[in-house]
Point group: C4
Amino acid sequence: MANSVNDLRYELALASRMLANEGVLDAFGHVSLRHPSDPDRYLLPRSRSPQLIEPSDVLEFTLDSEPVKPATEKLFAERVIHGCIYQARPDVNAVCHHHSPSVLPFCITGIELVPVFHMGAVLGTAAPFWDSRDEFGDTNMLVVKPEEGQSLAKALGAHWMILMRRHGATLVGTTLRELVFRTIYSHANAEIQLRSMLLGKIGPLSRGEAERTGPHQLQPRPMARAWEYWTARLEKSGEMPKSAPRRARKTQAAKPGTAKSPRGQMARRGAKASHAKR
Amino acid sequence: MANSVNDLRYELALASRMLANEGVLDAFGHVSLRHPSDPDRYLLPRSRSPQLIEPSDVLEFTLDSEPVKPATEKLFAERVIHGCIYQARPDVNAVCHHHSPSVLPFCITGIELVPVFHMGAVLGTAAPFWDSRDEFGDTNMLVVKPEEGQSLAKALGAHWMILMRRHGATLVGTTLRELVFRTIYSHANAEIQLRSMLLGKIGPLSRGEAERTGPHQLQPRPMARAWEYWTARLEKSGEMPKSAPRRARKTQAAKPGTAKSPRGQMARRGAKASHAKR
Amino acid sequence: MANSVNDLRYELALASRMLANEGVLDAFGHVSLRHPSDPDRYLLPRSRSPQLIEPSDVLEFTLDSEPVKPATEKLFAERVIHGCIYQARPDVNAVCHHHSPSVLPFCITGIELVPVFHMGAVLGTAAPFWDSRDEFGDTNMLVVKPEEGQSLAKALGAHWMILMRRHGATLVGTTLRELVFRTIYSHANAEIQLRSMLLGKIGPLSRGEAERTGPHQLQPRPMARAWEYWTARLEKSGEMPKSAPRRARKTQAAKPGTAKSPRGQMARRGAKASHAKR
Amino acid sequence: MANSVNDLRYELALASRMLANEGVLDAFGHVSLRHPSDPDRYLLPRSRSPQLIEPSDVLEFTLDSEPVKPATEKLFAERVIHGCIYQARPDVNAVCHHHSPSVLPFCITGIELVPVFHMGAVLGTAAPFWDSRDEFGDTNMLVVKPEEGQSLAKALGAHWMILMRRHGATLVGTTLRELVFRTIYSHANAEIQLRSMLLGKIGPLSRGEAERTGPHQLQPRPMARAWEYWTARLEKSGEMPKSAPRRARKTQAAKPGTAKSPRGQMARRGAKASHAKR
């Protein structure tokens, strides 16, 4: 199981870099993953820009968002977003918080984000809003207190995406790859919805279409196709995590065969590993 | 003739990558080509992102969109778009289906796409709409059943481009290069039309202008100029198909001279080969 | 003088590539230069995308837009744009015709392009419109007949830029570098004017400001600063012309010293050489 | 102290290139730094595009914007922007003047720029306007005379950013890194505000939120995270200053250890050095 965690550290670094490479994340934003064997823990990098995350930057946290081992590294201030959602949503195994320039106009105007083309259906049938000012008044806008994280998780409810007024968005997935797919295509949907609304009156997916289309797009075939594409783009940008997944100390004498192409292996294994059983 | 097919596999991989490199295609979308000697077959890659297509990914299909040889590879779900159009349109030898972010706002609002500058005339004098909901009600939005493909082909009629509500666009050409040219410049026209409509009242080409300008732009000289440019850009991006066109097994002992620059040779030969006689 | 012409061939290839690299030109568009010693001739590349022009692609034309030497190469169909303007405007030594996506919305809507920030003043105080339909009715939109080129040149009058309805723009300069500077910053002004008009009511430069600001920006210091920058960007893109300026056959035994850094030398010399005396 | 100045020359070259690499600056615009030990001097490059600045391009100026040593290099015409602000604002140690395409639409329409998301709060609670025409009538738009610089500095008052009508923006910071952070995120805020205003009615930060959020974002942790990210992007673009910081002549025999990674060292040291005590 130690190997799995190391593999997932690599997968999480990969996903963070991918989301930055596709224009969703910039210097800020973060992605986490529930621990594959201990549902009461999650994996999140130390405070660092997502495009620079290395597997060794990934730390373990309790669901109260405290580091499992005393940490000397700087930590993300907004960890409670992750911990509070993992507490509230047993079906969720991955969380992303971002400030995408395509999604922000919806967070700033309060205009509802809806699936306007088939790929956009991965955001779900609707995305609720959350406004920190409603419960907490004037703050520094960051979600740092447990009660703020709980309030956000409550507003998310059973949805897959929540828009945070004047701040950004938080998305969840049952696996890390599903989360990445949802994050990239909801970002694309937002951009296309904005451009469509400038052009004329939009005709979005009906509820029946959205309910049928979203789950269909999240099947293995389209997800694998996109993951291969985004990985290839990341490789071509020279942005792959520099270190291959480290073997756990106890199992350093790994089989030579498995060491040959740790990334390809990871890519296959991680996909399953991130569907953590709970 | 075996050589021609291999050359066309390379040409199809090249065209797919070119359309991705120019921003029309992303992880999704696909391009096909009618078989050069058997008009009852077409060539389409296995399910893979267009920017990653290799010549060896290209498979043969009947016009019922069944693979000619039993296929172990994953196949595109929406193959009927291609097969049904080849059945309905004997003049068509290449088909592209995409979800361009410039064209989608027209598919979502129902605003008509029209040639607004001379290069845009390659889309034809008009592009009709097709809405899967009209005949098939709430679906998962994909065009997968023969009757769906036939309905789309019927709506396309004698046009060169059709806009699919809440989904994307499908374009056709008499040759692969004509298709690429039309796809890239109709995408450019859409972007410029959208931006123009934000600025003021548009004054598009008259019907007489569109009828004269479209065919003129599709003559060999401008088509060759653009093809050289897009190929050079693809090469500079490091995105050319990795493998040169493979020789058919029976003719492996090819003339050494022809093997020297298979790509350049291909580029010249493919242009003619894709004008398949029917 | 033969050397000068070869240097200018290199300079023209450089300028063409620069304008493509900065997003003004794509597969189409062209740039020309009046002959430095014979004002009745001009230099224009053969029909090729501007980002691919090599010095050896540059040919000589009479002001009737006929090639001076019988040409086997394919030629630009719209050469009369250049020839007719050189005939009408003795002060003009360089011409650019383009279809910039930032300028086209003005050509399509008829909204006037005006200097909205100081750099935009390089377009002059105003840019007139020309519509091929006014005099020539429904055409294939290209400016190919002498009377079409003359009509365009007449509409340009004493201005530095003209907007061609449903087509693009043509700009002129007293030198090639002035033309490049004007072309890039009028393109930038168009983009910023469009975005500003979406936001609110624009407050452009007053006529007095435009008259003072344009000439000031076209002084040697700002022009040299920008030229160095655009050249550096082109070099970094790996897009510099592949061949250094060729020595004329008669003077092949050039001084060794001058051969050392032909580009830097060119950069300095070309700037002056392109201010052809008439 | 000589070393510090050399380090700061490198830091200033780095900051200039970073702002160009992130799309705020183009061929024009400039960044300066108050002298670390002599508050009556400032450091500014010679007239050169920001993405090309080398440490050796950085010169010293008095607060009257005269070069301390007779300069043979071409100098920026608008130096008084820097000198006059350093005179008026003892708390300011770094100044940037730019023409960002995201900020310009506000300068052209007079629409107020306000923090619309948490990162935008780094611009302060508001950004005043300055119009050269109010006091100086029709000019060539450049801020070149002492009275023009003084007028601008007066309009800036105690703010961190000022919008110059039909021209651009000027920003100030207590340190160079704070200035870079503010410049990049006010540019991002402008882009997002423009896009939000196209979509609907914006709901910006309340004054209380802006007052709490801005200073919070400018704390060491977020600033260091972004600086690491922008530096990594610059390195990946191949745009780092070519020369490492030069040692002052008197201290050429530097400790070998410190010479090993001058950039990393610089990155750490410069951050402190730029908080010059006054």
